[in-house]
């Protein structure tokens, strides 16, 4: 089924139309574009889920750096998962695959979500 690249976008709507909004310094510290979140501002930004860790990332509309893509998933992945994926001992596993292993009852999962540790269940 054909789809637009943006059809996977979630939406974050931040309405400061009746609020002093975020001061520029604080907005930058929060990785939010100051020009959109200040007094009277309204920001619509896309969010995407990360197929590796099951998290969601707010796409800063002003970001200049490249975003990571997983060619095995053919999808955007978050910066944390991109870092883990760049490590030499990385083993590609999506959140759905990890969930399937855990739901089989043969594995338990622990550790950070970007780099899960799967432990076999002893019987």
């Amino acid at each position: 089924m054909p789809f637009l690249k943006t059809s996977r976008d979630g939406e974050l709507f931040l309405d400061h139309s009746a609020s002093p909004g975020l001061p520029p310094g604080i907005a930058q510290r929060m990785d939010l574009p100051p020009e959109l979140v200040g007094e009277g501002g309204r920001m619509h930004a896309a969010t995407l889920g990360c197929p590796h860790c099951g998290g969601v990332v707010l796409l800063n509309p002003m970001r200049k750096r490249a975003r990571a893509n997983c060619f095995k998933c053919n999808a955007y992945i978050c910066d944390g998962c991109a870092f883990v994926a760049s490590q030499p001992d990385y083993l590609h596993r999506t959140f759905a695959e990890v969930a399937e292993l855990v739901r089989s009852g043969k594995w338990t999962v622990s550790g950070p979500t970007c780099n899960p540790i799967l432990t076999p269940v002893e019987k």
Binding site: R8, G10, D15, P20, G55, V56, V98, R103, T113
Partner: protein, 171 residues
């Protein structure tokens, strides 16, 4: 297999990552079984401060000891199905703002944190996930199995008053 809404109206005290979160200042969810999956589909935060307060609300994973022995929600906080005909799950997700063993927000650099910062003096924030792009929980262990909405002091947050809801679906 039904969407539910977890609502809280409270003060969100700004707190550090990997610190024991004070009761009544966060919204947390822990899976109902070791294999249960839950999708978080929407968050809405509407500020109700009477002067300018910058809050650094974040949806994040947990670290340290997993929260346990949850205190039942008290009015006006609530958690209920969006469809009245919904049958109760055998092992429902635990939603809570207070617990004996309290949650701790993850400080792991590679754990996802969804930035929901706003000015709670008149500010409103709503996040909706697109289908297949939702925030996911798996099981009931630290990390994958616990999701926390809290106000991060390390990200510049100050203690604020807000109403918030989290829409989620377990399957």
């Amino acid at each position: 297999m039904a969407k539910r809404l977890f609502f809280a109206s409270q003060s969100f005290t700004a707190q550090a990552y990997a610190s024991i979160l004070t009761d009544g200042t966060h919204m947390s969810m822990v899976g109902g079984s070791t294999t249960q999956m839950t999708d978080v589909l929407e968050c809405l935060i509407s500020g109700r401060d009477v002067s300018s307060v910058v809050s650094a609300m974040q949806l994040c994973r947990s670290t340290g000891t997993i929260a346990a022995t949850f205190t039942a929600l008290a009015s006006p906080n609530s958690d209920g199905p969006m469809v009245p005909a919904t049958a109760a799950l055998t092992a429902a997700v635990s939603t809570f703002v207070a617990a004996t063993t309290k949650p701790q927000a993850s400080n792991t650099i590679t754990d996802a944190k969804l930035n929901l910062g706003l000015n709670t003096f008149g500010g409103i924030l709503r996040w909706n996930a697109a289908p297949t792009q939702q925030w996911q929980m798996l099981g009931q262990a630290t990390g994958f199995g616990c999701t926390i909405l809290f106000n991060a002091s390390a990200a510049g947050g100050n203690t604020c008053l807000a109403n918030a809801h989290i829409m989620y679906e377990t399957y």
